[in-house]
Structures are given as structure tokens and as C-alpha cells.
């Protein structure tokens, strides 16, 4: 662990913001105020933050239908995201995308995605672009990351993308977040007999890593190695599988009849990346509980402000439906 106090504070703040963003959405969706489908990232925060804390705006990510965490971690504006989910004209995508299509190209966030497995080919295209641009003054390549779940690891697009990345030696990183559920089906059933996603990536000829996705420091330290490897010209792509947990259903409204007795309580008690982080940093006397409590309070306030701003934000007008299909037509 080499993070200074400022970096630790920042990492916790990012994870906590994602957590409270999702917890609040879970509440607000019950009221019917938010339309459409929402897939919450709650429980997986350490992966998004442990990965994205290493990245710069030159680096690109492509996310999934469960994308809020990746977006926030990559620097998308919190208020803009909340307004987008509210369907406001002031949302990050002017209310055209919603939860599943949040993007901010300037931040290197090339889009959440409603199609499971669709992101990996797009990330490889961006990685080929990184390779064409070549290394920076320090001899390092910008990278492009495809976040995928254990569900997407069964899509042919993901396989095609991994192979193309190897063939073109593109600086792509496949981050597999194994939360053990492909929608409503268990990984024991859907990911063959091995349940091992990293081995699939390895079979394409790339170097792979594995890590505990509930431990921020495991993610952060593992991903530093992955990144160092892929940033080095000539090494090509890599993959990493993080074992993680999903605290809510596949989508909001999912009755989760597939969960075992007491499973969610146990996950919240034993596999909560925020609790694990807190125990780790306070145990090592790197941060005090009071520091973290302050961040907790500030995060709740930031979310409350975003919700209030979203409620007050202007709604799109019917004529807006015609905008931004083409640049010119």
C-alpha cells in the first residue's frame, strides 16, 4: 500500500459517492419518479475506483448496462448523471440516453451500453487508436478498457474483441467483474465448469491477472501491474478478473428469487468493499473514522443536492426528439 492520505481520501470519497448514488436511486425508483430500466452497481465500487484512479483523460473506458460506477469513477459529472437519469434536458446526454447510455467522450468515457458484451469491440477500436497515436514522452501508451461482467464473458463479441486485440497488439485491458450473476442466472451454470473467466482471456494469448474485487487495495495494486504492462509498447492487451458482489438485483424491481437465504445480509456484512476499506485504513492508522465519517456526510449532501437539482432541472421539449441524429443531413 503506497497511497498517501490524500489519495486514500479521494478513493474512499469516489467509492462512497457511487454507493450513495446507487442507494439513493434505489429509493427514488420505488417512488416512480425515475423512468426506465436501472441497473445498480452497488457492491462493486472498489473495482471501478481501483481501476479508474490510475487513469488519465487520455485513457478511455467502455462500460456496461451497470455503468454508473464506471462513469463516476472516470470523472463524469455527478449532477449531470443524476439529471440524465431523471431524463432532464440538462442531463449529461440531454435526456436522450438515460441510465444505460451515459457517456462523456471528453472524459474518455465512451459510453455505458445497453447490450451485454457490446462494449469490448468498441474498446478495442479505441485501443487501436491509442496504438496508432503511439507512446507519450515517457514512452507509455494510453490504454482503453472494456469493463465486462461475467455475463458478457459469454458473448461472442467479447471473444472476437479479445482476439482482435491480441492480433493487433492493441493496448486494451479487459476488466471482468465477476459478480456471480448473469442477470438472474448463476455463474456456476453459465460460465462452463471452470467458472474461470481469466483463463478464457489467457487462452487468447494475453497476460491475465486475478484479484479480490471487494478489496480496494487488491484491485488498485493488481491494476497498477496490469496498467504498467499494457502501457509498455509491444506488450499488447491484458485481462484481469475481479471477484465482486452485487448488492441489488439485475435491474431495479428484480425480486431476486435466485438469492440464497440471508445472502444479501451476509454480503453486506462480510463482502462490502467500503467496510473492508474502512477497517483496513483505520486498522493501519492511515485514516481515522472521523475522516471517513466526514466524507460520508459530504457524499450524502452531494447526492441530496444532485437529486434536488435534478427535480428542478428543465424537461426536454417535444422538438428535442429530432436533435442530434446526424451532424448534418
Amino acid at each position: 500500500m503506497q497511497l498517501n492520505r490524500e489519495a486514500l481520501t479521494r478513493a474512499y470519497r469516489q467509492m462512497k459517492l457511487i454507493r450513495e448514488f446507487e442507494e439513493r436511486l434505489h429509493e427514488e425508483i420505488q417512488t416512480g419518479e425515475i423512468a426506465g430500466f436501472t441497473h445498480l452497481y452497488c457492491g462493486q465500487e472498489a473495482v471501478a475506483v481501483g481501476v479508474c484512479e490510475h487513469l488519465t483523460e487520455r485513457d478511455k473506458i467502455v462500460s456496461t448496462h451497470r455503468g454508473h460506477g464506471h462513469c463516476l469513477a472516470k470523472g463524469c459529472d455527478l449532477d449531470g448523471m443524476m439529471k440524465e437519469i431523471w431524463g432532464s434536458q440538462d442531463g449529461l446526454c440531454n435526456g436522450k440516453g438515460g441510465s444505460m447510455h451515459i457517456a462523456d467522450i471528453d472524459k474518455g468515457m465512451l459510453g455505458a451500453n445497453g447490450i451485454v458484451g457490446a462494449g469490448a469491440p468498441i474498446a478495442v477500436g479505441a485501443a487501436i487508436s491509442n496504438k496508432i497515436d503511439g507512446p507519450d514522452e515517457n514512452g507509455k501508451l494510453a490504454v482503453s478498457i472494456a469493463f465486462s461482467g461475467d455475463g458478457a464473458c459469454n458473448q461472442g463479441t467479447t471473444f472476437e474483441a479479445m482476439n482482435l486485440a491480441v492480433v493487433t497488439q492493441a493496448p486494451a485491458i479487459f476488466v471482468f467483474e465477476n459478480n456471480h450473476y448473469s442477470e438472474h442466472t448463476g455463474v456456476d451454470y453459465a460460465v462452463g465448469t471452470t467458472r474461470d473467466i481469466a483463463s478464457r482471456a489467457e487462452a487468447f494469448g494475453m497476460k491475465v491477472w486475478r484479484g479480490d474485487g471487494t478489496d480496494f487495495f487488491a484491485v488498485y495494486d493488481t491494476f497498477r501491474e496490469v496498467l504498467e504492462y499494457v502501457r509498455t509498447p509491444g506488450n499488447g492487451p491484458a485481462a484481469v478478473e475481479f471477484d465482486t458482489e452485487r448488492f441489488f438485483g439485475h435491474f431495479e424491481g428484480d425480486p431476486q428469487r435466485y438469492r440464497g437465504d440471508g445472502e444479501l445480509d451476509r454480503l453486506r456484512a462480510e463482502r462490502d468493499c467500503l467496510k473492508i476499506f474502512r477497517a483496513s485504513v483505520t486498522g493501519a492508522k492511515l485514516l481515522e473514522d472521523v475522516d471517513l465519517d466526514t466524507i460520508d456526510t459530504e457524499s450524502l449532501k452531494a447526492i441530496e443536492d444532485a437529486v434536488q437539482a435534478s427535480r428542478a432541472a428543465p424537461r426536454p421539449q417535444p422538438e428535442n426528439v429530432l436533435e442530434n441524429v446526424y451532424i448534418s443531413y
Binding site: G97, I105, I132, N324
Partner: protein, 337 residues
């Protein structure tokens, strides 16, 4: 002006744009060819000879041979374009769109809209289309009906070498995603081409391939050739046809169609796609709705039947539109009283 084949017009235009703009990159199956073989790179140069010499000129970073992975090709084109490049991707046969529809239809087409106008995706997807080679049901199809239906995609169907050049340069320089449908039967056809290195043809402007007062024939791609032959034959009998080459099916030059039908009052639409929910029905509906008062006869559609493309020569000929079928449709509209 220089005389050249349609395929060379395409090859030369991409080559010139790659020289002009280093953001232009080419990717697809066997666009180089020979990688990983004893023959070595450049053994093929594209199975349509539309990327011959590219690899030697621009190297592996910008001329990317892909595995047989259409979804990865299409998706990578989208990712390259979002990241600021100008990819020209080749899907070897347009029929393979079935393998990679999601990356075109759900991704590339929709990025800008879904993202509230904050993305630019200047991808060009080249797809050879069409029948006539006895290549059967999975290597012969017209797909204009699918891609024209996709909001966010522009669709180009050049007929002449000159149009192939001017429309492709426009496609590469265009900031929106473009599907460029090259008819396999046109590759070897020759014509004069404007050699101005900035020669572009703007989208949404049809070309009047033949002029006449009696019947309007609307067509695109190879079907324009059939319409031209039919029109020339009919002219011998004193029947004059406007042949409107759409050039782009999205955007569609409605004005050119409607203006012509207002004069002729008779419309024949020629389309290589099956007859349901196609360009033929689309243009027929357009005219029925917006030029109803001008019509003197029912609209005729010359299309294949609602079947897959068959293999045997006799069957494929029966399937496809032809100059004779177009001429018969023209005569039928004229006989209506």
C-alpha cells in the same frame, strides 16, 4: 478526367484520403491479405482489389488486417471513430451484416443521439452488395432496406466510377457514420472520373441518368444500369424516361423524385431487395402520399420476389430485375387508362 474502373475509383479515393489525412485507417478481412503465410503481407490487397498497395504505403498501423470477426471489425470501427480516427472498414460481403448488426445498428448509428450530441463517429463501412454471380443466398443480397431504416446512418449506393469517387470522398470526410454499398457487378465497369483531389459529391442529391417526359424510373446501384438500358431501348419506340439515380438512400432526394413524377405522372421503382418494407415500397409510399394528384397510373415496382437469392443461373436470372423487366413495367404504366 481519367477513365478508370469503379473498383479503382474506390481504391484510389481511399488511397488519396489516407495520404491527405493521417486519421484515415483501413480495416477488414484480407484488406492486406497474406499475413501469417509464406506469401507474406500484400498477397491479396483486398479480395475486391480495393486496397492494393495500401499496406506497403501506409503500414500495419493504418492498414489493419482483421481476423474473420465482423462484430469486432464493426465495433472497432466505432471505437476508432469515437477516439478521433476516420476508419474505413470493409465487410467483405454485405450479407455478413447479419453477424455484426448490433455494432452498426445499436452502437455506431446511435452514439450521437444517445449521448446527447456529444460524440462524433465518422466511420465509413464499405459493403459489397448484390447478386449476379451465382453466389447464392448468403453472398448476393441487397441490404439497403436494413441500413436505410437506421436513424443515424447515411447510406450511399454509387453507380458510376465518378460517383464512387466523389461519394466515397464525401463519406470519408463526413462527420456522420456512412454505410457505402458497392455493387459487385459494377466493380469492373469503366467511366470517366474527376481527378480533382477534393472532388466530393454532396449526399442527398440524386443524379438524372436519363431524361424523358413519359415515365419516371427511380433506381440505385446496379439497378440504375438496368434502368438506363431499358430507357435506351424504350427511346427507340419514342418512349422517354427520366432515370433517377438516387446515389444516397439516406438522405433521400425526395424533391428529385417528386418533381419528375409531377411531370410524367407515372412511376417505376427498381430495387434489388425483396419487395416488402424496402426502398421500392418506401418511394412508392412517398409518391402516393406527396404526388398523388400527379399520378396517372398505379406505381409499378420491379423487385425480386419474396424469396432468398437462389443459386442456379436460371433461377438467379428469374429472381433478379432486368432491363426487360423494367421496360415491361414502363409499358404497363403507359398502357393504364
Amino acid at each position: 478526367m481519367a477513365k478508370m474502373m469503379y473498383r479503382d475509383a474506390i481504391r484510389n479515393t481511399i488511397f488519396q484520403e489516407m495520404q491527405r489525412d493521417e486519421r484515415v485507417v483501413v480495416l477488414g478481412e484480407d484488406v492486406v491479405g497474406g499475413n501469417g503465410t509464406a506469401g507474406g503481407p500484400e498477397a491479396i490487397g483486398g479480395i475486391w482489389s480495393t486496397s492494393t498497395g495500401f499496406y506497403d504505403a501506409f503500414g500495419p498501423n493504418r492498414v489493419i488486417d482483421t481476423p474473420i470477426s465482423e462484430s469486432a471489425i464493426m465495433g472497432a470501427a466505432g471505437g476508432l471513430a469515437l477516439a478521433g480516427k476516420r476508419p474505413v472498414a470493409e465487410i467483405m460481403f454485405a450479407d455478413f451484416i447479419g453477424v455484426c448488426m448490433d455494432q452498426l445498428w445499436n452502437q455506431i448509428a446511435k452514439f450521437r443521439y444517445m449521448f446527447g450530441g456529444k460524440s462524433v463517429c465518422p466511420a465509413v463501412i464499405r459493403m459489397p452488395v448484390g447478386a449476379g454471380y451465382n453466389a447464392a443466398a448468403q453472398h448476393s443480397q441487397m441490404i439497403s432496406q436494413f441500413v436505410t431504416n437506421m436513424p443515424g446512418i447515411k447510406v450511399v449506393m454509387p453507380t458510376t466510377p465518378e460517383d464512387a469517387c466523389g461519394l466515397l470522398r464525401q463519406a470519408i470526410r463526413d462527420d456522420d457514420p456512412v454505410v457505402f454499398l458497392e455493387h459487385k457487378f459494377l466493380y469492373a465497369m469503366s467511366g470517366e472520373v474527376n481527378e480533382d483531389p477534393d472532388f466530393c459529391i454532396p449526399f442527398g442529391h440524386a443524379r438524372l441518368a436519363r431524361a424523358g417526359q413519359d415515365v419516371t424510373i427511380v433506381a440505385s446501384g446496379m439497378m440504375v444500369r438496368y434502368a438506363e438500358t431499358a430507357a435506351d431501348d424504350l427511346a427507340q419506340d419514342g418512349i422517354g424516361c427520366d432515370v433517377i439515380d438516387l446515389r444516397t438512400t439516406s438522405p433521400l432526394d425526395e424533391e428529385a423524385i417528386l418533381d419528375s413524377v409531377e411531370v410524367t405522372g407515372r412511376l417505376v421503382v427498381v430495387d434489388e431487395a425483396p419487395p416488402r418494407c424496402s426502398l421500392a415500397t418506401d418511394i412508392s409510399a412517398l409518391v402516393a402520399q406527396k404526388a398523388f394528384a400527379s399520378l396517372k397510373a398505379p406505381i409499378e415496382m420491379v423487385t425480386p420476389p419474396h424469396t432468398p437469392v437462389p443459386f442456379a443461373r436460371e433461377l438467379e436470372s428469374a429472381y433478379l430485375p432486368s432491363p426487360a423487366k423494367v421496360a415491361a413495367a414502363v409499358r404497363k404504366t403507359l398502357e393504364y387508362r
